[in-house]
């Protein structure tokens, strides 16, 4: 029996390969995820361990003060104490704060303030200077090499940096450094000073960490104990090794997050692969019904038949998982190479690590999924009666929708719809989204059940055009695609999964974009937004005053904001200039009553505070009557809105946070831009953004997310295409004689190829249509749970693109099987049974 199975497998190498490839890709992705994240973890560990060798002991402030408003710090007094400890050879404090770098245009560089850090002297320094030297004097500074590159500074230049009081200071750029794996520094960019200068520039009141180097012959453990004893309680004192371990595990948490995200896509791919395997084995069993009946006739037991199919799946599983591991190794290495090339802040120098966990998980997932997917087909194989061997003609598979299927299908579809409607009807929020997601899953199960029933009518619908366009090949192709509904259904559902998720994501992002930007745009049709780089720094009121004096501007709206304690909670409170230009439409109540002594509250905050129209909120010692509830997007001030006068009375020291400008009609764009820039130029921290730029940046970020997710889902789609290719090649095999007959009757080779391509096209389109319908439907439902007033948008072009791509991909999947079918000799095929 074993021999029969293995001989059968070897006889069909291409089929074996196609089948295995589905699992191989899934396992490869999962293994690649592990390889990538393990390597990154290992790199972090290595880096931190290397760093740790430079320090004997590190002192950190105790950070478990939950209600802290400011980062805990270590004082110069603490440093002096540490320096006094016996056995300490050197001790220095690390400073990190903000020190905005001024770009060559005279404005602060970047949308976030540059970090200012101290570069330690001597062997305690952990910052890698890549060019020039470390700063040695108060007039010297170093820049991280990426910032230097984007801002076009080279060693020897003079750079200008703002201190914490916004005063400009000039430094000689003496060197460049690499931020290494520090995510925060890599994001903000960083400028490094001597420790004293860093303290002065950032305005920091102390150190984040004190690093200690012990004298010769002093063990880190002993030194740790004596430093801890000298400082008393309220400090965390670690040896260098402990520090490295802690840093590494904190970073592992970050990579864990990436790992989970990637694995999710890996699991989706495996689900699709399982469908492909299930379908393949089903077809194989159907095709070998006579062979198996013959085996049963000559005495094979049901158990042996079952075993032989399962054995086959085990062989496929092992083979593809091993291949998958290899591919995973390659994928991981490739991803690392790409990350290294773009200079991502992760360690990429270490060799690719293939842990035993990767191997075990990869093999187990691959084999279990394959064998599990083959279980049902194997059971079906045991039901082949020995008598089937004697039947001459292979029965055309007929499919009748059973009562059970109809009932269960309807039940699942109804339940799915019901749950989804329930979720949509709920108030927006995470719970509602989860309910909709659950509804979506149940509905999808329903689709899975009824798929064989809807595949025929869908095939007729999709095939309407090809039938008319492509003559006999077209007609035959459409008939063939609808011939075996169960097979067609499983084949297309595999594709449906990927397309559903893709269209879901694109609906959600397009709708988010529309809701966030278009609505803001409609209600606040501004041309320029003036803001600042840092969260706490604000715009001097003179700026708004000067802008208001210019005749070119129709409206200049100032937004002020601060935090206040209301009902024991810290709540955002603010005011903006009331202007006829901005229509604020309340969800509840009316803005007509908005005046002195009243407040308008955005819905989310109202819910948090438990207030509604008619209630009062007490802030800064005064009561305000709530006259309106606003939607979260309809006002520039998120939280509690007061009138400008009330706000200024209550919080007189708060300056403008944002200024929104609407240019008068007829003023040229470059004129207005010049004026805005002239007004803001004296204030280096004040940044001007045109509304178009802002929208562009937001769109770019969304596009990026969509692209990444779509790319990751592409794997699932690729696997489902393998499924189409596999189904098709098996069907072609099954219809060898039919194809030969058609060729004998005068169908040319190209026509035969076209016939198979069209069949694949129809299958691809069915899968895509169902996927798009589900994706758009549930995308709509999901967006309804995001916020109250969603502007639903379906990205029509993108979705049509998905459909077209699926069709094309189906045709591509058919290339190989079609070629093989067309190449087959007529006489040989006629003789085959």
């Amino acid at each position: 029996m074993f021999k029969t199975t293995l001989a059968g497998l070897l006889a069909h190498k291409l089929r074996l390969l196609l089948t295995s490839l589905a699992i191989t890709l899934g396992v490869g992705f999962i293994a690649g995820t592990f390889v990538l994240t393990d390597t990154i973890d290992a790199g972090f560990a290595q880096k931190f361990t290397a760093d740790a060798q430079k320090i004997s002991v590190a002192v950190l402030p105790n950070g478990d003060d939950a209600d802290r408003r400011q980062e805990p710090i270590l004082t110069t007094g603490d440093l002096a104490k540490v320096r006094g400890v016996k056995g300490v050879a050197d001790a220095q404090g690390i400073v990190q704060g903000t020190a905005p770098l001024i770009g060559k245009n005279g404005k602060v560089a970047g949308s976030r303030a540059t970090s200012g850090i101290s570069i330690l002297k001597g062997t305690l320094n952990r910052t890698a200077i890549t060019e020039g030297a470390a700063p040695a004097a108060a007039t010297e500074a170093v820049l991280d090499k990426d910032t230097a590159k984007t801002r076009q500074f080279t060693v020897g230049d003079t750079i200008t940096v703002l201190d914490s009081k916004q005063v400009k200071h000039q430094f000689t750029l003496v060197g460049l450094f690499d931020v290494g794996v520090n995510q925060q520094l890599s994001f903000t960019g960083a400028v490094g000073f001597t420790t004293d200068t860093a303290l002065r520039m950032t305005g920091a009141k102390g150190f984040r960490e004190i690093d200690v180097r012990g004298g010769d012959g002093v063990s880190p453990e002993d030194l740790r104990a004596s430093v801890a004893a000298a400082l008393g309680s309220g400090y965390t004192v670690k040896t260098g090794t402990q520090l490295a371990d802690d840093l590494a595990s904190a970073n592992n948490m970050d990579t864990e997050f990436i790992r989970m995200g990637l694995l999710l896509f890996g699991l989706i791919a495996m689900l699709v692969a399982a469908l492909v395997i299930y379908n393949t084995f089903n077809i194989l069993v159907a095709q070998r019904a006579r062979e198996m009946a013959l085996l049963r006739c000559i005495g094979a037991t049901k158990k042996q038949i079952f075993g032989s199919i399962l054995l086959e799946s085990v062989v496929v599983g092992v083979l593809s998982s091993v291949l998958g591991l290899l591919i995973g190794l390659g994928l991981g290495a490739a991803a690392l190479a790409v990350l290294g090339a773009v200079d991502a802040p992760i360690p990429t120098g270490t060799g690719v690590s293939l842990s035993s966990r990767t191997i075990v998980v990869g093999l187990l997932i691959g084999i279990i999924v394959t064998v599990a997917a083959a279980l049902l087909p194997a059971r079906a194989a045991t039901r082949v009666a020995p008598i089937a061997a004697l039947r001459s003609q292979v029965e055309e598979s007929t499919f009748r929708a059973g009562v059970l299927r109809t009932v269960f299908g309807a039940l699942f579809l109804l339940a799915g719809t019901g749950v989804t409607v329930l979720g949509v009807a709920q108030d927006p929020g995470q719970d509602a989204l989860l309910i909709v997601m659950a509804g979506g899953c149940v509905f999808f199960l329903g689709v899975l059940i009824v798929a064989p029933m809807i595949v025929k009518p869908l095939g007729a619908f999709v095939g309407w055009l090809p039938r008319r366009l492509f003559g006999v090949p077209g007609k035959l192709a459409v008939d063939n695609s609808r011939r075996n509904p169960k097979r067609a259904a499983t084949t297309t559902v595999a594709l449906t999964i990927g397309v559903t998720l893709m269209s879901l994501i694109s609906v959600i992002t397009t709708t988010t974009r529309a809701t966030v930007s278009e609505q803001l745009n409609e209600q606040f049709p501004v041309d320029y937004m003036i803001g600042t780089q840092q969260r706490d720094s604000t715009i001097p009121r003179a700026v708004a005053g000067e802008l208001r004096s210019r005749p070119e501007f129709g409206s200049v709206i100032t937004v002020r904001e601060t935090e206040a304690r209301i009902k024991g909670q810290s709540v955002n409170i603010g005011a903006f200039t009331v202007d006829p230009l901005f229509k604020v439409t309340p969800v509840k109540g009316s803005m007509k009553d908005f005046g002195p002594g009243t407040a308008a509250v955005t819905s989310w905050t109202a819910k948090e505070l438990g207030v509604t129209v008619g209630d009062t909120v007490k802030a800064a010692g005064r009561d305000y009557r709530v006259v309106a509830l606003l939607s979260d997007q309809s006002t520039p001030v998120y939280g509690v809105n007061l009138t400008e006068r009330d706000f200024d009375a209550a919080f007189p020291r708060v300056m403008d946070k944002q200024i929104l400008i609407k240019v008068k009609d007829g003023v040229a764009a470059d004129t207005s831009r010049r004026i805005v820039e002239a007004v803001t130029d004296p204030y280096p921290t004040v940044l001007v953004e045109s509304a178009r730029e802002t929208r562009g940046a937001f769109d770019e970020a969304l596009d990026m997310i969509t692209m990444i997710i779509t790319g990751l889902l592409g794997l699932a789609v690729l696997i489902s295409l393998l499924g189409i290719a596999n189904t098709l090649s098996l069907s072609v095999h099954e219809r060898t004689r039919e194809s030969a007959l058609l060729r004998a009757l005068g169908l040319t080779r190209p026509q035969l190829r076209r016939m198979l391509s069209i069949e694949a096209l129809v299958l691809g389109l069915i899968g895509a249509l169902v996927g798009v319908a589900l994706g758009v439907g549930f995308g709509w439902a999901a967006t309804q749970t995001m916020v109250d007033d969603v502007i639903f948008r379906a990205p029509v072009l993108q979705i049509l693109g998905f459909v077209a791509l699926s069709g094309v991909a189906g045709v591509v999947a058919a290339l190989l099987p079609a070629r093989r079918a067309a190449k087959a000799s007529i006489v040989g095929s006629l003789a085959s049974s």
């Binding site: 003609q393 039919e738 058609l742 005068g746």
Partner: protein, 247 residues
Amino acid sequence: MTMTTDVRQALTARGLTKVYGQGDAAVHALRGVEVGFATGAFTAIMGPSGSGKSTLMHCLAGLDTVSAGEIHVGDVEITKLNDKQLTLLRRERIGFVFQAFNLLPTLTAEQNIRLPLEIAGRQADQVLFDRVIETVGLRERLGHRPTQLSGGQQQRVAVARALISKPQVIFADEPTGNLDSRSGAEVLSFLRRSVRELGQTIVMVTHDPVAASYADRVIFLRDGLLVTELHQPTAQTVLDTLLKLEA
């Protein structure tokens, strides 16, 4: 046997040789067959198993390539044609009836019958269509699919399909091989009627002396060579000849 290119010959073969495989494994299926088939005649090909009957038929019909020799269908030398030209030739001039699996399971009987015309993009001659259907006696069965038809009915549909495109030659490879004697007789007499009434040329491979007796002429193959032939055969004369050949 004299082999002049006669206009009345629908099909001629000269020095037809077919070798499968190479070297030691080479099988000489045909070793220089010279044969002609007259227009409007019903010819049967007989011979022991492995004598090359199917091979001859496949070569004549342009389904397989020859190793040497020429074949003319009407005025076309098909041994010179490429695959595409052969396909078009089959479309226009040749009809087939196979032993089994003649029909596409997805199509109805009528669709199956019209299939060659559709492939060729030609209109069915409605008069001919009606006449063929009448002759085959399948009018009530036209809407049925192959699985709903008996073996004999399926073969009759196949014959009707071969007739409908008015081919120069119809090839039939053991068309009654899978049928009981009564259904076999139905199909055979139908083949003979199409020769008599429609002037069709038919070449049929068979093992069965009774089937061969429906033909006007029987040619006998042995070891890839044409050895003898009978005109106006009866089952008995065919049987006698076969016994002599196998002896």
